[in-house]
Symmetry: C2
Subunit: 347 residues, 2 copies
Amino acid sequence: MNLKQLSEKLGLSQTTISRALNGYPEVNEATRQRVVDAAERFNYRPNSRAKGLATGRALAIGHVIPIKTRHEMVNPIFGDFIAGAGETYAANGYEMVITMTEDSKEAEVYRSLKSRGAVDGVVVHGPTLNDPRIALLHRVGLPFVVHGRSSQVTQDYDWLDVNNRRAFERATRFLLDLGHRRIGLINGLETQEFAARRRAGYEAMLTQAGIAIDPALMRSDEMTEANGHRGAAEMLDGPDPPTAIVASSLISAIGVRRALEERQLKMGRDVSVLTYDDMLSYLRNGTDVPIFTAVRSSVREAGRRLAEILIRRIADPHGPPEHVMLEAELVVGQSTGPAPRWPAGQA
Amino acid sequence: MNLKQLSEKLGLSQTTISRALNGYPEVNEATRQRVVDAAERFNYRPNSRAKGLATGRALAIGHVIPIKTRHEMVNPIFGDFIAGAGETYAANGYEMVITMTEDSKEAEVYRSLKSRGAVDGVVVHGPTLNDPRIALLHRVGLPFVVHGRSSQVTQDYDWLDVNNRRAFERATRFLLDLGHRRIGLINGLETQEFAARRRAGYEAMLTQAGIAIDPALMRSDEMTEANGHRGAAEMLDGPDPPTAIVASSLISAIGVRRALEERQLKMGRDVSVLTYDDMLSYLRNGTDVPIFTAVRSSVREAGRRLAEILIRRIADPHGPPEHVMLEAELVVGQSTGPAPRWPAGQA
DNA sequence: GCGGCCATCCAAAGCGCTTTGAAACGATTC
DNA sequence: GAATCGTTTCAAAGCGCTTTGGATGGCCGC
């Protein structure tokens, strides 16, 4: 069923049908009702492509996911993020278009999306320091919002980010307050902006407390269980092991826990663990009482809100840039406790 | 830059440009080269919706993700699956369109995708027993492939599935061969077809070995770390605890491991654990040597192959249905060992 | 009774592409 | 030299919608 057929069936012009369905005022309320009913009855919905052609809008938003050619890693937070964004899109009549691509071809993908008119805007995921995509998208003229931030970028742009620096300041502060002096950091890849900020927060608090930064207690790697385990294992087996570890994700923290348990160390007593928690739906940090003490912020909520910003930006491409900073919340679980008098293994 | 502008710039008709770019034979090779070069130079790409309108094809494939209104759970394997499917789509010029929806509105979403002509076909995720979506999609006339199977559906349809039953037969058999007699099952939600099949495989092997099915050793729930932990904890604290546990996902297995460690039980010695492993990129089962003994099959590979089937189906809507059964592979890790003489806690 | 003004509806143009049917032209054949 | 043919190109229709610029008719005030 298309517009023409429906119009013939109703004895009305296509114009009137279109207007009735799109809520324009110049159509009699009785007529509108008749049209709406008929559309419902005949299961009529305007063809997306035809509508897009006529209006010049795609009513779609793109997410370009770089699949790292080396790691072949799909970011685990991705699922929850787009679930959040998807809610907002659905509520606003937008479609979500996802493109997986080798990171080397990412620029080409953006150009293509723009010149083919496939989407009205895009979300930039996982910005690095001085991320080249931002300048590219500005140049190409494709509206976008960044999930995170990229420093050293000169132009202003829309972004939504968690205050990662402050989150890790708090986390480190919390452990310092418990008397810990040797605190390890199992971070994400520090080429990613968020990880760099987390490290900055960690270092700032140590420095403020007069504690020297020790590279032996810092790891920067893809946030997997295996890497969390390896990093913690190396630290714990080192000459001067930490009494506390800050991890950048719940998955890494699970690896850390495994390293502790292998060494018969009790988490929260012998070694404290504090993690960042994205609040993923399938990886809850305990049910009622949290397992890990954590700084947390819902990535799903971030998706929802970022999508709202992007939709506004598409409606008004030249308005002033929006910046949203989310603060992570500290929740105390069972994985932290006062620093032991003697570090683990030396008691 | 659109077709018309490009054609004027080249002094050729739009017809010729279109044909040259789409590889039709009736255009002089020299002319084609000239056109291709110009398109490249002016960064011209045909508008997606105009092309779609003219051809009647969307060049897009839909994935409808039901967000369970109660659980609000995003399936963790989803990310890797669409990464695989995305590779195939990209290679074939298809776009991936994702719609998140409450499960109650899922039927409406399919109808809408079809009548708006938004996609050429869809992937059905997570089929339940006698899944209503299959009949619906047949009725609506939207090409689809099911990831998994749904029994009790009368019509034939395309599917790609792992042989879940055999995988769990093997897993159970392996533990039986090690001398285990009390084997627990931490399964996914058995309203999902795959989980039901896994249970059937588990039960079949126990029965074959002359062991009575004990409901006290079986759990069926969303596959989260917390549920894995709770299920294992209950079994282990029960009157007649298992010496081995089969888990339905690596995430559940991690919860099981936590329950063991809380009880000072050594995995692989006191209690054996065998898990199903979807081989998610961010949740590897160890690096070189697997941590968990597992039956495994790559969900990413499944995504790739399923997408190929769907693309063939779209090209030939009335061809014979394709069925692909993937066999899971058994890999031996450190989490299994011979059954202890006395069950844990009773030594 | 007439011009003017709403309210309501419509015909047709246009969005950017593909594709049909035909034209133009040189080469080949009889 | 006319008829035929193959190659290459083009004009125009059509995909299904939105939107512009009227048309129509009823109603008001004068």
